[in-house]
Amino acid sequence: MSGTEAVRGTGAVRGTGTAHSTGLRAWVARRLLLGAGQTVAVVLLVFALTEALPGDAAVALAGDQPDPARIAAIREALHLDRPAHERLAAWAAGLLHGDLGTSLTSGRPVATYLAGGFGPTVLLAALTVALLIPVSVGLGVLAARREGRLADRLISSATLGVYAVPEFALGVLLVTVFALRLGWLPPTAVGYGTDLLAHPAALVLPVLVLLARPVCSLARLVRAGMIDALASPYVAQARRYGIAGARVRYTHALPNALAPAAQQLARTIDWLLCGVIVVEALFVIPGLGTVLMNAVAERDIPVIQGLAVVFGLTAVVLNLGADLVARRFTPRAAVAA
C-alpha cells in the first residue's frame, strides 16, 4: 500500500538493538490483539444491532407488507424461534465458513450480493488510493517549498476549505458544472453496468469527489511535516555537504515529513469507506455501497449483516495496517494500543 516505498527508505534508520525489537514485537502483539478484539466486537455489534429490533422482529421487518405468510417466512429465515445466543453461534460459525446466509427479499445467498457489488467498489477504492498518495504528497511538498508565497496560500486555503465539505454536496455541484453546464462528463454511471473500466469518463467525477477530503487532510500534514523537516539541522547539514536540493528534499526530509501523514491514513480509511457509500449513491454506481443502501431500505437483515461485517472487517484490517506502517515511520511514538 501507500507507505511501502517510504518504509524501505527509512528502513536503515530503524534501531536494531534487541531491546528495541522485543519492544516492537510486544507492541505488534498488543496491536494484533486489539485488532482481534475489534474483529470480535464488529461481529457482536452487527449481530446485536440488527437483532435488537423492538417487539416481534418478524412483524417489524415485514413493515409495509404485514401478511402472515411473509411474517412466517421471515421468522423461518432468521430462525427467530431459537434463542439469540444459538442464532449468534450459528451465524458466527457460518461467517467462519464464508456462509453469510440468504437474503430475506430475494432468497439469494448474501455472497452473490457481495460478489455483484465487489468489482465497482474495489475499482473505485483502488483508483482513489493509487491517486491519493502522489497527489497529496505532491501538493504538500509544493506548498512547503513555496511556504508563505502565493502557491502555498492557494493550496493551504483550498485544502482547509474543501477538507470539511460533504461528498454529496461537492459531487452534486461538480455534476452541475461538468455534466450539466459544460457537458464534458456523464452525470451518473447509469447505463454502463458494472464494467466501469470500459467507460473511464464515468469514473472521473466519482474518483475526484472521493479524493477530495483525504487529499486535503494528507496534503496539509505533509506540508506541515515537510516545513519542519526542511528547517531541521540534519537538512541544513546535508545542504552544507553540498547534496543536491531535490535529493535533500526527497530522500532526507520527506521520509520524516510522512510520519504524521501515515498516522492519519487510518482516519482516511474511515472516510473512504463512508465516501464510497455516498459516491455510489450519488453517481448510481452498482457497488457494495448501493447494495448496502438497498438492503437498508428493504430492511433485508442478512444482507445488511453480511455487508456490515465486510465493511467493518475491512476497516479493522486497514486500520491495523496503517498503524503498523505509522509505527515503522515513528518507532518512538506509540500509535494506538
Binding site: 527509512t10 534508520v13 534501531g15 486489539l34 478484539g37 475489534q38 466486537a41 464488529v42 444491532l49 440488527t50 435488537a52 429490533l53 423492538p54 511556504e147 502555498d152 486555503s157 482547509l160 476549505g161 474543501v162 477538507y163 470539511a164 465539505v165 460533504p166 454529496f168 454536496a169 461537492l170 455541484l173 452541475t176 450539466l180 452525470p187 496539509r220 500534514l221 506541515a224 516545513i227 519542519d228 528547517a231 531541521s232 540534519y234 532526507h252 520524516n256 474511515d270 469507506l273 463512508c274 457509500i277 455516498v278 443502501m293 438492503a295 437498508v296 430492511r299 437483515i301 456490515a308 465493511f311 467493518g312 476497516a315 479493522v316 486500520n319 515513528t330 518507532p331 518512538r332 511514538a333
Partner: protein, 287 residues
C-alpha cells in the same frame, strides 16, 4: 484533528472572509424559518418562474421557502450532537486520566478503542436500518460515534496536565478531586479542547448532512438542505436550482466553519512552534 500549520497567522482578511462564508448559511438556517411565511399552493414539479424565483421542487413546493426552512435541522442537530458527545466523553476522559486505578482506566477506554475501528457512517446506517430514528435519534447516533475519538483526545490531554508537579502539590495540600480535575486539569486542557471542538463540530456537520442525504433520521419530504439535494436530483437537468441552492449552502456552511475555526484558533500567540531545535525523536531517527 486538523493539523494546524505553522504559518497560519491571524490575518484579519482571512478571518473576515471565513466569517462571511459562514454567516450567510448560518443566518438563513437560524432566521429562515421566521421569514418563510405560510406555504403557498403547490405548483407543478420542477418548474421555473411563475412567482417562484428559485422554481419548484419535486412535489411542486417553492424552493426558496424550503431553503429558508431547511437549514435549522442541520445546524441544530450538529450542535446538539457535539454537545452530547462532550457531555459523555469529558467525564470519561477526565476520570480515566486522573484515576490511579489501572483497571478503571482500562475498563473505560478499551471498549472505546474497539469502537474506534468501526466506520462512523456504517454504524449510523446499521442503527438506522433497525430503529428508523428521527432527528433526535440521528443526533444521538452522531454523538455516539464521536465519543471514542473525543474521549481519547481528552484523556491524552488531561493525562499530560495531570502528570505536572502542580497537580502533585494540589494533591498534597489535600485539595478535593473535583478542584483538581475541573479547576486545574480541565482548565489546562481547555486550549486543546477548543481546537478539538472546532474540528469535531465540522466533522459532525459533515456526518449529519451525509446521513440526511442517505435518508437517515429525516422524512423523505423533509425541509432539510441535504434531503433537498437528494430528492431534487432527478430534476437536476430541468430545474438545477432546487439542488444547487441547498448544496451551495451546505458547502458554504462546512467550508466556512472549518476556515473560521482555523482562523480563530491559530492566532499569533498560538502558533505551533516551528521545530528549530530537533526533538528527541528526530535526533534518534536521523543521526
Amino acid at each position: 484533528m486538523t493539523p494546524r500549520t505553522s504559518t497560519a497567522r491571524r490575518r484579519p482578511g482571512r478571518f473576515a472572509l471565513a466569517l462571511l462564508i459562514t454567516a450567510v448559511p448560518l443566518l438563513i438556517a437560524l432566521l429562515g424559518p421566521l421569514l418563510a411565511g405560510e406555504p403557498g399552493p403547490r405548483a407543478a414539479s420542477f418548474t421555473l418562474g411563475g412567482g417562484h424565483w428559485a422554481g419548484t421542487d419535486f412535489v411542486g413546493r417553492d424552493v426558496w421557502r424550503q431553503v429558508l426552512l431547511g437549514g435549522r435541522t442541520v445546524v441544530l442537530t450538529a450542535l446538539a450532537a457535539t454537545a452530547l458527545a462532550y457531555a459523555v466523553s469529558l467525564p470519561l476522559g477526565l476520570i480515566s486520566a486522573l484515576t490511579h486505578r489501572g483497571w478503571l482506566e482500562e475498563l473505560l477506554m478499551r471498549p472505546l478503542d474497539v469502537l474506534l475501528a468501526v466506520p462512523s457512517l456504517l454504524l449510523i446506517l446499521l442503527a438506522a436500518a433497525v430503529f428508523s430514528p428521527g432527528t433526535t435519534g440521528l443526533a444521538l447516533l452522531v454523538a455516539l460515534v464521536n465519543i471514542p475519538d473525543a474521549a481519547r483526545i481528552i484523556r491524552a490531554t488531561a493525562a499530560e496536565a495531570a502528570a505536572r508537579s502542580a497537580v502533585e502539590a494540589l494533591r498534597m495540600q489535600g485539595e478535593t478531586w473535583w478542584r483538581m480535575a475541573v479547576g486545574y486539569v480541565g482548565r489546562s486542557a481547555l486550549r486543546t479542547l477548543a481546537a478539538d471542538a472546532g474540528t469535531r463540530l465540522t466533522g459532525v456537520l459533515y456526518l449529519v448532512a451525509t446521513a440526511a442525504f442517505l435518508g437517515v433520521g429525516v422524512a423523505p419530504d423533509a425541509a432539510d438542505w441535504a434531503v433537498m439535494v437528494d430528492r431534487n436530483r432527478t430534476g437536476l437537468f430541468v430545474q438545477p436550482w432546487a439542488v444547487v441552492l441547498p448544496a451551495v449552502l451546505i458547502v458554504a456552511l462546512t467550508m466556512g466553519a472549518n476556515l473560521l475555526f482555523d482562523a480563530a484558533l491559530t492566532g499569533p500567540g498560538r502558533r505551533r512552534t516551528p521545530l528549530r531545535e530537533p526533538s528527541p525523536v528526530r535526533k534518534e531517527t536521523r543521526p
